[in-house]
Symmetry: C2
Subunit: 208 residues, 2 copies
DNA sequence: AGCAGGTTTCAGCAGAAACTGAAAATAGAA
DNA sequence: TTCTATTTTCAGTTTCTGCTGAAACCTGCT
């Protein structure tokens, strides 16, 4: 029910404001995250907004809530659609387009991981392969330095290659299995118990 | 043996130039990577230079090779030292400071991962915890929306929490075990075989 | 102590990225 | 088809980030 959030039996104006604030905080954090990841702050904020409210929203809703221009919303939504973390929704009897975010966190994370690998790791791997091909030339004249170079190149390649293989299992179309794998690995005693030093806020909602 | 790379029995001027070019390409790629990761291009380039040559270098060497200012080198090196991927080296009989990069790729990757988690994930987790504390207020007046909010917050938290736990095993002081774990996981049939569609350059000249 | 060689800091500049606003394009209704 | 509500594009503007270069600051030799 994408109802223009107005007076709802359950929510007083005050509670509304508090909800609003909590949401805004999430949006702000996610947005800051976005800058660190190299995507635009607004794009991350739009995504956060759609995710946290869970309701389809149209361009004007987003503009109003985030206080950004129409053009900016349009561009951000487009990227989000490309990433596959947001989809268009048509409401019958309304000419506007509505947008809503992927609600399953793991799908969402897969999508994010997929994009990031594409942008961050793959180009490096390509470059590495390309550079490796210069090796023989060097090797012809300077075998020792060529070997050193080749070794370092290979080391990096192998490291990132492994990570990529791993990540593709996670991010690929059938990647859901990795959620399980991750949980397994998280439990497995690799070295020692690595509590990440943060006490989970207890009870409350069970999750997916 | 940090010899100012001059005439070496094994290397003709030509081979030297070719080695140089291969290195430069690596440096450029790694530098581009850096921008994507939100660290300055120069910082990444300095690191790449120190890694790929494997030789300790002083400020002037770096300035000359990378064509950047003294101040820039100074700042970059400082960050690199903080990240723990580069260390100071004193050469006896020379007042200059020399710097050299961690040569083990896995240590290097652990260091990188550690920094990135610190900068990217931890703040989000903190924000999430903080926001979750606003929940009860909302809940008092609007139980339904509060539950929805809490659930979404928890979902994200759980997802990132799991990843963090995992990552800390990898990046932590005893994290070396994860190299093994990664290899294991890479082999394990999670769903289906995920060849990452890239054929490793097979010894010599593949095509580009 | 004074001095020479080296490193760090930082104000100002330059280039890049993000954002706006309005014009152009598009898609649905009649 | 035409008319109109909505979305997209893009040139201009603003904002941000990284870089430089010179002055200030260390550090250890004499």
């Amino acid at each position: 029910m994408p109802k223009p959030s107005s007076t709802n039996p359950n929510s007083s104006a005050e509670a509304q404001a508090q909800l609003h604030e909590a949401q805004d905080r999430f949006i702000a954090s996610w947005g800051r995250m976005g800058s660190v990841w190299g995507i635009s702050r607004t794009m991350a904020e739009v995504h956060a907004l759609l995710y946290i409210t869970g309701r389809p929203m149209c361009t004007d809703d987003i503009m109003a809530r985030l206080g950004v221009s129409r053009g900016n919303v349009s561009m951000s939504v487009r990227s989000l659609l490309e990433w596959g973390v947001v989809e268009k929704v048509r409401l019958p009897g309304d000419r506007k387009e509505y947008y809503s975010a992927e609600q399953d966190v793991w799908s969402m994370m897969r999508a994010i991981a997929r994009e990031r690998i594409k942008r961050e790791v793959d180009p490096l791997l390509d470059a590495l392969d390309e550079i490796a091909e210069l090796g023989p030339q060097v090797g012809a004249r300077s075998p020792e330095e060529a070997r050193e170079l080749q070794k370092r190149l290979d080391d990096v390649r192998d490291g990132f290659g492994l990570i990529t293989t791993l990540a593709h299992k996670f991010a690929g179309p059938r990647g859901a299995g990795l959620q399980t794998a991750a949980k397994l690995l998280a439990k497995a005693p690799v070295g020692r118990k690595a509590t990440h030093g943060r006490s989970r806020n207890p009870a409350k909602g069970g999750s997916s």
